[in-house]
Amino acid sequence: MNKEFIAIRWHGRGGQGAITAAKIVAGAAFVSGYAGVVMAPTFGTERRGAPVMTSLKISKTKIYDLSPIETPDIVVVLDHLLLKEADVTHGLKPGGIIVLNTPMAHESYHFQDYRLATADITAISVEAGLPHGMVNTGIIGSLEKAANLLGIDLLVSGIEAEFRTRKPEKNSLAAKIAYERTVAGG
Amino acid sequence: MGTRNYRRKTSHSEHGAGDGGRTGSWRVERPVLDRNLCIPCKRNKEACFICWLFCPDVVISRTIPPTINLEYCKGCGICAEECPTKAITMVDEAKFAEEDKE
């Protein structure tokens, strides 16, 4: 992957915390030396449970183009049921990465031209002590495992800083477990 | 340092008789005070002053007796209307014009 400029599109549901997750990755990227980070949520239509998208652009230099990502390097899907509702691979570059929270086995998916990484973040998060359905920190562990972007340590400290008043250890534990258990492959 | 002198740049005025110009010449009827009916005059103490409060041109003094500055009183009659004891009467200016001649 070209590490000068990385475009990550997040697919989640309103209220699931995709924006917070993208913000944590943005913060970690900035700390690690990416001068340009731009995170833009879907505008105006955020409703709880509805499919939502968030764009995250990471660049070594300042970003001047704030328009939505058209050809992502990575798509992150916080709920496998979204595969039926949204065209999550739209514009995804050939060889691009799909990070998917799913209870199903990696082998049960067939995405041509893309690299798929899966983990059952919903179960892992409960195991880490989070309430059922809190998946936005665990998924960061899967993303790092699949894409090797910024290093898990930096992301873990980003998670703990963001959640400093809301169970920081449990949230970072979810990311750590997810990092270990993510199945990534071609 | 910038442009100041704010008062000159806005519509800013001090309240007081004459803010609307020499309005005494507008008067058709003149307010005349009957001290026998006026509350502060009768009681000889600071009281009432409804006329002073209501005068839109600030031409009535808060004194015993209240005085009316005829230079600026435009004769609107609000004081006469508001006076609780009807101590102020509006009198035709023509009458005073004749007096002035005499």
């Binding site: 913000k23 900035f30 949520p41 970003i63 183009d65 | 910038g2 442009t3 519509s11 005025s13 309240h15």
Partner: protein
């Protein structure tokens, strides 16, 4: 210290750093998170200010007008129909020469109802006698809020700080958060020349006659026309004060540039794209692409829209073959308002020199229509080749 936040937070942090003492606002998308943030600061005690909830935008500005007349440093913010509802008080604030700051989080106006970005709202307030500044990123938002207070208080004219709804207001990016001490040294406490005071009573903005008149002291007092003319004169002079603000700011914060315009790759350019707000940064990406194709093009962001920096704009565009004005608003029935203003500046300063550029107008992103960078690049590419149309051309229209 750099932080990553959205544009509304950048504005709120700027207002907090400026120690605004009275805030009155009515929530409207996409401005809402800005005023929510401010009410949180006031509630938590982080900010020592009165937050006055009101029942409308008209009241919000009325409260600010009263508070500013009494010597407070005030703030309000709105968008779209909220700004239109405020319009009567917008005119009042500038006529009363009150140095307040308002953020306009740019949004399309109804009808039909729409909550997304364009700039019809603030452009429609062009002639209200306010200073209007447009921001292209979050650093500009927070810095402009700070500079705006200084400028407003120097010239006794209110300032609108305009930034694109959603595209800037809801997008996260890093920016430098100035220190409180630095801001305090840039912006001293508000010391009005006159404020409402029972010991020194005054009539403010009562009926003011068409002609001059004698006041109670027997001095000649201005008529309405004198007061309005002074507003115009002072607005024009405010361009110099804006340059001073920029210089002062750069001296303390080590950043700043041309206060009026923001040119990019314009020096050797034959064509220059011009716009207001975040689209001018997006056009930098187009310009970089077109340069690789051998097209000599640059882009110029107009930061000050009122007072209009006609001289700086004409100087920057002198000798260019073509000027391409891309706007998110329209003076319906003619063309983009910036287009007309820009042509008037070129006529004034370049007519007769034989170097008047061809000027073209494009309308983009109305009601939040996505402005694809490829489409924008294609527009500039075509416009650089020759005149596309005499009328404004709508980009991305599917009619």
């Amino acid at each position: 210290m750099h932080i990553i936040e959205n544009g509304n937070a950048a504005a709120a942090l700027g207002v907090k750093l400026c120690r605004a003492s009275v805030i009155a606002a009515y929530p409207i998308t996409p401005q809402t998170p800005l005023t929510e943030k401010l009410s949180e600061y006031v509630e938590s005690g982080e900010m020592k200010a009165e937050y006055i909830p009101v029942e409308s935008e008209h009241s919000a500005l009325a409260v600010c007008i009263a508070a500013s007349s009494a010597g407070a440093r005030t703030f309000t913010a709105t968008s779209a129909n909220g700004l239109l509802y405020m319009h009567e008080q917008v005119q009042w604030a500038s006529g009363a020469r009150l140095p307040m700051v308002m953020c306009v989080v740019n949004r399309a106006v109804g009808a039909p109802w729409n909550v997304w970005n364009d700039q019809q709202d603030s452009i429609s307030q062009r002639d209200t006698g306010w200073i209007q500044i447009y921001c292209a990123d979050h650093q500009q938002i927070i810095d402009t809020v700070i500079k705006a207070y200084w400028l407003a208080e120097q010239v006794s004219i209110p300032v609108m700080v305009c930034y694109d709804g959603y595209i800037l207001s809801h997008t996260f990016m890093p920016f430098d958060l100035p220190d409180q001490e630095q801001v305090d040294s840039f912006l001293p406490p508000f010391q009005p020349d006159y404020f409402l005071n029972p010991q020194d009573p005054a009539n403010l903005n009562t009926v003011t006659l068409p002609d001059v008149r004698m006041d109670v002291r027997g001095e000649l007092a201005h008529g309405y026309m004198e007061i309005r003319c002074l507003l115009q004169e002072d607005l024009r002079k405010a361009l110099q004060t804006a340059a001073e603000a920029e210089k002062r700011f750069a001296g303390i914060f080590n950043r700043g540039a041309d206060p009026y315009i923001e040119p990019y790759r314009c020096d050797d350019a034959e064509h220059v794209a011009v716009g207001l707000g975040s689209i001018t940064y997006q056009m930098r990406v187009c310009v970089d692409q077109l340069r690789t194709e051998g097209i000599k093009i640059g882009v110029m962001g107009v930061r000050y829209y009122r007072p209009f920096p006609d001289e700086a704009i004409a100087a920057a565009l002198k000798g260019k073959k073509g000027v391409i004005v891309v706007e998110k608003a329209l003076s319906y029935g003619y063309e983009g308002a910036l287009m007309s203003d820009l042509k008037s500046a070129l006529y004034e300063h370049l007519a007769g020199t034989g170097s008047l550029p061809v000027v073209q107008n494009f309308i983009a992103g109305i009601g939040g229509r996505e402005i694809r960078t490829d489409d924008l690049t294609q527009t500039l590419r075509a416009a650089a080749k020759g005149r596309v149309s005499k009328e404004p051309v709508w980009i991305g229209l599917r009619l």
